[in-house]
């Protein structure tokens, strides 16, 4: 008995150690391609590349530059959005990187400050709005378009009429997502409501899972999230309800509960912008791409999604891509029941940028 256990233990140690070695080789074996005009592209990330969410997807985009264009890339991960960011961005600029992607909102001012110092280097800042010199571009994805699609699915599939939404921080991006989701959901299911729990973190699997449990206990039978880990999907799987993934395809974590995930797809944009620098056609622009450009994409539908719901979701997807549907098409009301916009109109980008109110159908007060 003991001998058997020891044998097993030995087997485990062996397996773990071989895995460790393999991992170490993986970690360090990232070869550097020499072509791509010797151009170097730098990335600065707010989280670790292993977060399975926001940073992970940006890093997938970075890797696509190496494989598609053969350029050399560099990344610095887990850079806090404070005094350190400016130094790291500057360091990337002084070490021969001709194009630098700064992938978090908090890098906005450091990016612009460093850019003024290095006119020959191009800077791309994600999710911000400042372009103070003509070597700075901004880019973001219209994730709210994706939320409209999953809101449609939720509206069709909820039985209890209560959908839970795990939110991170009360910033316009997150609020826009909640509203877009709610509007789409109530278009197909006018009585359904959204309950929001703010966890005040992007990244705490335990807490995200607990929030999902609390929402399910309070009657939610579908969980949507604007946080990074797959923990909420695992809870949904365990409790026998449905959930949507965030940032990347999370179906492996919840084969039955997973309806679909909104997938952040930065690859095409990163390739396009890098090519533009290589060809000398890069200009300062503000990009806000969505479903039609492929920046917002989706994981395959889960088996639980019936054919008619798939068709309805696809119709919304196609409608948004073609421009016939806008997630914020009027008429709709805010939480207090006052009309925000009338029929035949939709909110423009300016209205969306700073959104700080809930639409009708979201329960609870907006914090902050």
């Amino acid at each position: 008995m003991i001998g058997k256990k020891l044998n097993l233990l030995a087997a485990v140690t062996h397996k773990v150690s071989t895995m460790l070695v393999a991992l170490l080789i993986m970690v360090t074996g990232t070869s550097v391609h020499a072509d791509g005009h010797g151009m170097k592209v730098g990335f600065i990330y707010v989280g670790p590349t292993g977060d399975h969410g926001w940073t992970y997807r940006h890093d997938i985009g970075r890797q696509s530059l190496e494989s598609e264009l053969g350029v050399e890339t560099t990344y610095v991960e887990s850079v806090p959005e404070g005094a350190d960011a400016g130094r790291v961005i500057r360091q990337l600029a002084t070490s021969g990187h001709k194009l630098i992607f700064t992938t978090s909102f908090g890098y906005m001012n450091p990016t612009n400050n460093v850019a003024k110092e290095f006119p020959d280097v191009r800077f791309e800042h994600a999710t911000g709005y400042k372009r103070e010199s003509d070597n700075v571009s901004t880019y973001s994805a219209r994730f709210y378009e994706g939320r409209s699609v999953i809101g449609t699915i939720a509206g069709h599939m909820t039985r209890t009429g209560v959908v839970g939404y795990i939110a991170s921080f009360p910033i316009p991006e997150v609020i826009r997502g909640i509203n877009s989701f709610t509007l789409a959901m109530r278009k197909v299911n006018p009585d359904a409501v959204v309950r929001v729990v703010w966890v005040n973190t992007w990244y705490d699997p335990g807490k995200e899972g607990d929030a999902a449990k609390a929402l399910i206990d309070q009657g939610a039978d579908i969980i949507a999230q604007h946080t990074d880990s797959p923990a909420a999907l695992q809870v949904a799987e365990d409790r026998g309800v449905f959930a949507f993934g965030q940032a990347s395809d999370m179906s492996t974590f919840a084969p039955n509960a997973h309806l679909t995930s909104i997938v952040n797809n930065w690859d095409p944009y990163y390739i396009e912008r890098t090519k533009a620098v290589m060809e000398g056609t890069w200009e300062s622009v503000d990009t806000w791409n969505g479903i039609s450009e492929g920046m917002v994409s989706f994981a395959p539908y889960g088996d639980a999604v019936p054919a008619d719901v798939r068709a309805a979701a696809d119709a919304v997807k196609d409608g948004i891509a073609s421009g016939s549907i806008h997630p914020f098409d009027g008429p709709f009301n805010n939480q207090a029941g006052e009309q925000v916009i009338g029929s035949g109109e939709h909110l423009d980008d300016g209205d969306l940028l700073g959104m700080n109110y809930y639409v009708e159908g979201v329960e609870g007060d907006l914090p902050g």
Partner: protein
């Protein structure tokens, strides 16, 4: 041969100065092993960590930027640790300092006066002191352990900052994004070296080192702190008030942490953000101890630890080493630094194996 420690009759003055270098040499050896294992050139890695960040004036200035809050807080905390007051909530006190300093800056947003900055500094100090006064009060009045209260208040402070930046202190023209207005020049720290970010905070850090050194070596309260820390009972017999020591050390640590927080927002950051410190308040605890609770030691410890952070960033850029490796390497560096201090008080001796077995 079995190595063992033999207590020295008195502390070795030589080892006080030599042991950090032994630690660095051991780190070098450890680093060579670590980086060889990872398939990187150890020489390149060591260069990236310890040399490359300092090959430019800007690099030196950044070392100052990164080390200033660590030293400022570290020297102040070391006073408390000497007295046996465990303030581990400097991060929260730093946050309150940043909030209060920013409130002054935003309140005087229209005012262009030389008094704005001093007022902000006062705000920062008071903010940090206020946050540290809560554990002090709870400790002296209710006997509540300051380890818990100061740590828990750190989380509260971070949430308070989040609440304010997502709400009342938000930039009115900032599309509801969570950040304050950018401070005006009158509310920004003067730069010490042109073309860099080295700010007034570095000067204050040096002043703090000198001031605390004087306090410890020349003042009565410094003497009291040393006595109470080493022998509380003796301190009480001598008529030193334990409560006064608690209040003094916590307010000192809180005030300096608050000042450091205000320097961060007014200096390199330039506005209030939801995150203003990458854990300076916690790292400063290590700085204090690696510096052997001595002001000058804390200065060097702060510089070395700051350098290891800069080196970590640099290693990511030049060698594609993931940040995880930086953590492992930093941990190793600290282990060696802390371990080598043993040589000050002990001698390593060897005894033959046989004697060990029979004796």
């Amino acid at each position: 041969m079995i190595p063992y420690l033999e207590k020295r009759a008195e502390h070795s003055r030589t080892m006080v100065y030599i042991s950090p270098f032994i630690a660095l040499a051991l780190t070098l050896l450890g680093g060579i092993m670590l980086f060889s294992l990872l398939g990187k050139s150890p020489a390149q890695a060591m260069y990236a960590f310890f040399v490359a960040p300092l090959t430019s004036l800007y690099g030196w200035a950044e070392l100052g930027v990164k080390a200033s809050p660590l030293v400022l807080i570290g020297v102040a905390l070391s006073i408390g640790f000497r007295a046996g007051v465990w303030n581990i909530g400097a991060e929260g006190q730093l946050t309150l300092g940043a909030i209060c300093g920013s409130c002054v800056a935003l309140w005087l947003y229209q005012v262009d006066s030389v008094f704005v900055l001093p007022l902000m500094m006062v705000g920062g100090v008071l903010g940090g002191m206020f946050w540290a006064s809560i554990p002090a009060f709870l400790k002296t009045r209710f006997n509540a352990n300051e380890i818990l209260t100061s740590l828990m208040l750190t989380y509260v402070a971070l949430l308070l900052l989040s609440l304010l930046v997502h709400g009342p202190l938000r930039d009115p023209d900032g599309f509801n994004f969570p950040e304050s207005r950018i401070f005006h020049d009158a509310a920004s720290l003067p730069i010490m070296v042109n073309g860099t970010r080295l700010h007034l905070g570095a000067v204050f850090a040096l002043i703090a080192v000198g001031g605390i050194w004087l306090l410890l070596s020349k003042s009565l309260i410094g003497f009291q702190i040393k006595v109470i820390g080493q022998a509380p009972a003796a301190g009480r017999h001598a008529g030193f008030s334990v409560n006064r020591t608690i209040w003094f050390t916590l307010l000192l640590g809180g005030g300096m942490a608050g000042l450091a927080g205000m320097f961060e927002v007014s200096g390199p950051i330039g506005q209030l953000l939801p995150i203003i410190s990458p854990g300076y308040g916690f790292t400063a605890i290590i700085v204090a101890f690696v510096g052997r609770l001595h002001p000058v030691g804390s200065l060097f410890a702060g510089l070395l630890i700051a350098l290891s952070y800069l080196g970590g960033e640099n290693a990511q850029i030049t060698l594609n080493l993931p940040i995880a490796v930086t953590g492992v390497f930093q941990g190793m560096l600290l282990f060696f630094l802390l371990a080598c201090d043993v040589l000050i008080r002990y001698r390593i001796r060897f005894k033959p194996v046989s004697r060990f077995r029979h004796g």
